[in-house]
């Protein structure tokens, strides 16, 4: 299959033939809750509770869900910034769940992160040149001259002028800062980039610039993205496949079109229905969910969504449905299917 031709057109990229880059199996990340006089662990917040998915090479997997659903924790656990409680993370077939020390350090060259808040994620005491060259200095032995030319290259690649090299983070606007963050993530030519809400702090006109840039870079460097966001229209724009999370569980995962055209899980349906569309003629009858997301420390029994689900049946409070393939490539965790 001719990859260069495929990466150009507007058609969604074929995903069947590609090899798996990241394979997540039954991943669990719990945060301990300490309490009482002796600060003993009295419970767990099950931020990520047994999720499994794969990302193919060159693909973008979107993760959506409301705040507290565990999407950021998933991203951070994959980067091994958090220690998984259970499960496996396979990167290019290699288990990175338990590695540590030099091995982990070496592995981390291949996956980088772009953060949400471009104001908090840049060190205010470092110049832009220092920020972007730091990862390279950490991993490669190259001369100062080469280092600088590499950084300047990265700057121009993300659409920043060469003068930015000696400036500091505060001299830039939000969108430009996010470009600096992207340049830093690209510095080591990673294979996987985890973008955690990369545009949610930006204005729409700037948001579109950053989204376009991320897409261009993906084609150019053959990057794989895990794109985490709460804005469903942004996720739809960016992703090949999308996973919907609720209370630490993956409730549905499907290709982009399949998910939006025919959402199966009642939660996905409500989520899609809740998005206000920029078209006053489409003021539709929405599925309005009652109440809030329950506390992940004390999640409901059975299906985690049954307390708010408009279609809940009696057995939903007892049986926790597993994610199963209902149609080719379309997985859903709901007893209705």
């Amino acid at each position: 299959m001719n990859i260069t031709a495929a990466s150009k057109g507007t058609q969604p990229k074929p995903i069947v033939e590609k090899e798996t880059l990241l394979d997540i199996r039954n991943l669990k990340t719990y945060y301990p809750v300490k309490g009482g006089f002796l600060k003993r662990t009295i419970g767990h917040v099950k931020a990520v509770d047994d999720i499994s998915f794969e990302i193919k090479k060159g693909e973008t997997l979107g993760l959506v869900g409301e705040s507290g659903c565990g999407k950021s924790t998933t991203g951070r656990t994959i980067l091994r910034l958090l220690k998984p409680t259970d499960g496996q993370i396979l990167f290019e077939g290699k288990d990175i769940t338990a590695i540590s020390g030099t091995e982990l350090r070496r592995a981390r060259q291949d996956f980088q992160m772009v953060f949400q808040d471009p104001y908090a994620s840049l060190n205010p005491t470092q110049s832009v040149g220092d920020i972007i060259s730091e990862p390279i200095r950490n991993y490669k032995k190259i001369s100062k001259k080469e280092l600088k030319s590499e950084v300047l290259d990265l700057l121009s690649r993300v659409g920043l002028p060469a003068e930015a090299y000696d400036k500091y983070g505060h001299e830039f606007s939000g969108g430009q800062r996010q470009r600096i963050g992207i340049a830093r993530a690209l510095a080591l030519k990673p294979k996987l980039i985890i973008a955690d809400e990369p545009v949610s702090a930006l204005d729409v006109s700037v948001q579109s610039q950053v989204l376009n840039l991320l897409k261009e870079l993906q084609d150019e460097f053959d990057l794989t993205y895990l794109f985490i966001a709460h804005d469903l229209s942004v996720v739809k724009h960016m992703s090949d496949r999308i996973g919907v999370m609720y209370l630490g569980n993956m409730v549905e995962i499907a290709t982009n079109d399949s998910l939006y055209e025919e959402p199966l899980h009642p939660y996905t349906q409500a989520l899609i229905s809740a998005i206000p569309e920029a078209d006053p003629k489409k003021r539709k009858k929405r599925i309005i969910l009652e109440g809030d997301v329950p506390s992940p420390q004390n999640p409901p029994s059975g299906c985690p969504f049954h307390t708010r689900c408009p279609m809940a049946k009696e057995e939903c409070s007892q049986i926790k449905p597993a994610l199963k393939e209902v149609k080719p490539g379309h997985h859903v965790a709901c007893i209705l299917y």
Binding site: Q207, L232, V234, D279, R286, I288, L289
Partner: protein, 342 residues
């Protein structure tokens, strides 16, 4: 319900004329809102959209007379609320209007609520200030208000503190306080920006219901065109302290005229189409100190800019019935006349 069109004769609830609000930087004032005029009719929801720094929040603070003292100041124009110019009122007179006739809800409900007082205390405070009732009555009315905004177990929540509630619940509490005295105008400054979409849908639904039940007008300040399309009747698009376009919501989304509005709409990813590239707007909003004094403020970023755009200041003028735009592409008069007008 019979909706009044803006053409019919009824004094507008709020009429802003040539409003100029400036901020003091060093010794000089720089205008964040520059000669803005618009009206809000009764029972209407008017949306104000624009990106950060376009002056939309400053305008609402000018209406409420809540500009930071000694720094922000209304420097010209009128803010006529039911025929009274709010910018000329004393602090005491304004206190009687704030919270009673005009009230406001903010983006971040946690910072707008006082963490050391119970929900009930803060709600009763509004009622006791503006209405002649006893504490006991205020408490009962407070509980009824909480119930009316969809808070479960209001008789319990009334004795709880803001941190015990979720973001959506806090915004409901804010709304209950804002509508406590049945204001005629509610200013909602990004009320759903900090909330999840499912909760946002709940809050927008609630605002629509309240607006109809209470016969109130709403100024909805937001950067989200989706929210505008969802609940507004009329829309004002602002850029760099000025109104660039104003019309009813259907017309705006069907045929946006100003290049800025057009770009703004093309920049958001749409649910029902898939495109590789989104529209972008090059450059940045000029800073308040470097605002061009002559010409269109969008000219340096505008893909349709003409040489005269930097020389002639476009005025907000009606191009079609009830559709005003400030752009030379749509001028009725000749450029020469405009130079004279400026």
């Amino acid at each position: 319900m019979a909706r009044l069109t803006s053409g019919q004769k009824e004094t507008p609830l709020l009429e802003i004329k040539d409003l100029q609000t400036g901020f003091k930087i060093g010794k000089d004032y720089y205008n964040a809102v520059e000669k803005v005029s618009f009206r809000v009719d009764r029972r209407k929801i008017v949306g104000i959209v624009g990106e950060s720094g376009c002056g939309k929040s400053v305008m609402s603070l000018s209406v409420m007379q809540l500009l930071p003292k000694g720094i922000g100041k209304v420097r010209g124009g009128e803010i006529n609320f039911e025929g009274r110019d709010l910018s000329k009122l004393s602090e005491r007179e304004m206190n009687k209007i704030r919270g009673k006739d005009i009230s406001m809800i903010f983006q971040e409900p946690m910072t707008a609520l006082n963490p050391v007082f119970t929900i009930g205390y803060q709600l009763e405070e509004v009622l006791l200030n503006h209405e002649n009732i006893t504490k006991k009555e205020a408490r009962l009315k407070g509980i009824a208000l909480l119930k009316s905004v969809g808070i479960p177990r209001p008789e319990k929540i009334v004795d709880e503190y803001p941190h015990q509630l979720s973001g959506g619940m806090r915004q409901r509490v804010m709304i209950s306080m804002a509508i406590a005295c049945q204001p005629k105008l509610l200013i909602a400054d990004e009320p759903t920006t900090a909330l999840d979409v499912t909760v946002q849908a709940q809050i927008l639904e609630l605002l629509k219901d309240i607006q109809e039940v209470n016969d109130m007008s709403i100024i909805m300040i937001t950067h989200d065109l989706g929210v505008v399309a969802e609940i507004c009747d009329e829309v004002i698009v602002m850029y760099a302290g000025k109104i660039v376009e104003r019309t009813d919501v259907e017309t705006l989304f069907e045929s946006p005229k100003h290049p800025y509005t057009q770009l703004l709409m093309d920049a958001i990813p749409k649910m029902d189409e898939r495109k590789e590239k989104l529209a972008t707007i090059d450059g940045l909003v000029p800073s308040i100190k470097q605002m061009p004094q002559v010409g269109c403020r969008f000219a340096n970023r505008c893909p349709k800019a003409m040489p005269e755009c930097t020389v002639i200041t476009p005025q907000l003028e009606e191009d079609e019935a009830n559709h005003e735009v400030a752009c030379l592409l749509y001028k009725n008069s000749t450029p020469m006349e405009r130079v004279g007008q400026r």
